[in-house]
């Protein structure tokens, strides 16, 4: 019965969004986090890095869409589409980040930070609206993506500050990073707890479970290192390690969410028809 296109109900990962789409979530979230970190730290130039990361993420998506020269059509449906809303926030964010760096204006920095939070929230809701993917439509993916973006941004902010010598990491940026890492770990724990209600296919659950075990250990390590670095921010390797883990583990998390755990909603029938017209229990092929 099977032809070129399968007639069985097995489904796999969604085939449309690849590393380019994942990059938008990774770079966009991190960029938004950097902008927030720049506002909190009163850093003039760092916001440009955040805007550049967001721009790079959008560029990745531009290379993925089927009709890139129509990209401006993405502004047409902000009434309901979180992708439209993301696209709407982006230019405002770029303008305010550029203005903040140009004029060294704290007000514009905070405006850019507010828009960055709106941007990462739009991204989180965008993924959550992908209702064909049970791992995405888990409502707790929203706080997870927001917390991860802010933690990644803080990590990159700490790294960039140390690398450029723009800012010796004082105590409280490390406290901020520690808090955000803890928030992300909590959000991921909460996300995983809600998964059984989402009819997530078994393969995704098993992968998530394996990832969760490693990620739990990494989170504990990252938080422990960050606390140690908080105790003495002058110990550069500790600061750098916590910052790298904050950004790197967030990217791995998002890549996994967008690509690896993106198993499609299985077909399901609540009843089947047995021989002779009798009704029999239904089926939900795992895929």
């Amino acid at each position: 019965m099977s032809g070129a296109f399968p007639t069985h109900a097995a489904l796999g990962r969604q085939p449309y969004w690849d590393w380019r789409a994942a990059s938008n979530f990774m770079l966009g979230g991190s960029g938004a986090g950097v902008l927030v970190y720049a506002a909190v730290c009163g850093e003039r130039v760092l916001g440009l890095l955040g805007a550049a990361l967001i721009g790079a993420g959008l560029l990745c998506v531009w290379f993925e869409i089927g009709r890139p020269w129509r990209a401006l059509n993405a502004y047409r449906h902000s009434a309901t589409s979180w992708m439209s809303r993301e696209a709407t926030v982006a230019p405002l964010l770029f303008a305010s980040a550029l203005g903040a760096a140009w004029l060294d204006s704290p007000a514009l920095r905070w405006l850019a930070a507010a828009l960055a939070i709106a941007y990462v929230y739009c991204q989180a809701r965008m993924l959550n609206a992908g209702r064909g993917i049970p791992a995405w439509r888990n409502p707790r993916s929203v706080p997870l993506l927001v917390a991860s973006g802010l933690a990644e941004g803080a990590g990159l902010g700490v790294l960039a500050g140390g690398f450029w010598g723009l800012m010796a990491p004082p105590l409280w940026p490390m406290v901020l990073l520690t808090a955000l890492l803890s928030a992300r770990a909590l959000a991921f724990w909460s996300y995983r707890r809600a998964l059984p209600k989402m009819a997530v296919p078994g393969r995704a659950l098993r992968e998530l479970s394996r990832f969760g075990r490693v990620s739990g250990a990494v989170d504990v390590l990252a938080i422990a290192v960050a606390i140690l670095a908080t105790a003495d921010p002058r110990i550069a390797p500790l600061v750098a390690a916590s910052a790298v883990i904050a950004a790197g583990s967030g990217w791995i998390l998002k890549y996994s969410l967008v690509i690896r755990w993106s198993y499609e909603q299985p077909y399901a029938v609540p009843v089947t028809v047995a021989r002779g017209g009798q009704v029999a229990p239904g089926t939900r092929p795992e895929g």
Binding site: A87, Y267, V271, V273
Partner: protein
């Protein structure tokens, strides 16, 4: 009001895929794209094994997740419940494909043919460059439904204005019509048979009903 729906009688479907072939011919979909197909589900264990043929297509939902997701407004709803796509607006982001819990969105970015690098005469005739790089799906054969408005003929009753899959079904398993018309064929079938809709719990209000037994409603 009018709400066009499809009714699938699971007791009648024999999994012959004639509807699949009819859809491909009528709509000229490229290899790998099937706006309609029939799933072959095996359940149970020996000796109590069942085989279910499950025709699937776009569900033309009353509350379509693809429509809310679409950033361009390319996805739209007709007043009669059909969900359509304006190919000239679509940017091919495939967001709708991830939003659809029925896997009924397709995107192809390059032209391909069933037999090698050259199109068959049929493929050449049906090729539509507007569908490259954008999202596509079952339209309930919209050109035929639109024709009904001008001719006064009745979709689901008159073959000229009925989706190709329904016309082609050799087992009488597929039915099409207006659910809001209590005298329509689909309304009678739904009244007289127990039925379900797939993934109703997601709040999509799908427009494809599956009949599975005689009796009142669900």
């Amino acid at each position: 009001m009018t709400r066009y729906v499809m009714v699938v009688d699971l007791r009648r479907c024999i999994g012959c895929q004639t509807c699949t072939a009819a859809c491909k011919v009528a709509n000229g979909t490229p290899p790998g794209v099937q706006w309609r197909r029939v799933l072959d589900l095996e359940t149970g264990s020996y000796p109590d094994v069942r085989r279910t043929f499950l025709p699937v297509s776009c569900m033309h939902c009353g509350n379509p997740p693809c429509l809310a997701a679409c950033p361009t407004g390319a996805t739209f709803k007709h007043e009669d419940g059909r969900v359509g796509i304006r190919y000239d607006l679509c940017i091919g982001c495939a967001y709708c494909a991830t939003a659809c819990p029925y896997h009924q969105r397709f995107r192809v970015t390059r032209q391909s043919f069933a037999y090698g690098s050259e199109p068959t005469p049929e493929e050449a005739y049906k090729f539509d460059s507007a569908r490259l790089g954008v999202s596509s799906k079952c339209t309930f054969c919209s050109d035929r439904i639109d024709l009904a408005r001008h001719t006064g003929r009745v979709p689901g009753v008159d073959p000229e204005v009925t989706p190709a899959c329904v016309n082609s079904c050799i087992a009488g398993a597929l039915h099409f019509g207006d659910r809001d018309d209590p005298t329509s064929n689909v309304s009678r079938l739904l009244e007289q048979n127990r039925h379900f809709r797939m993934h109703e719990e997601l709040g999509t209000d799908p427009g494809v009903y599956y009949l599975y037994a005689e009796g009142d409603r669900t």
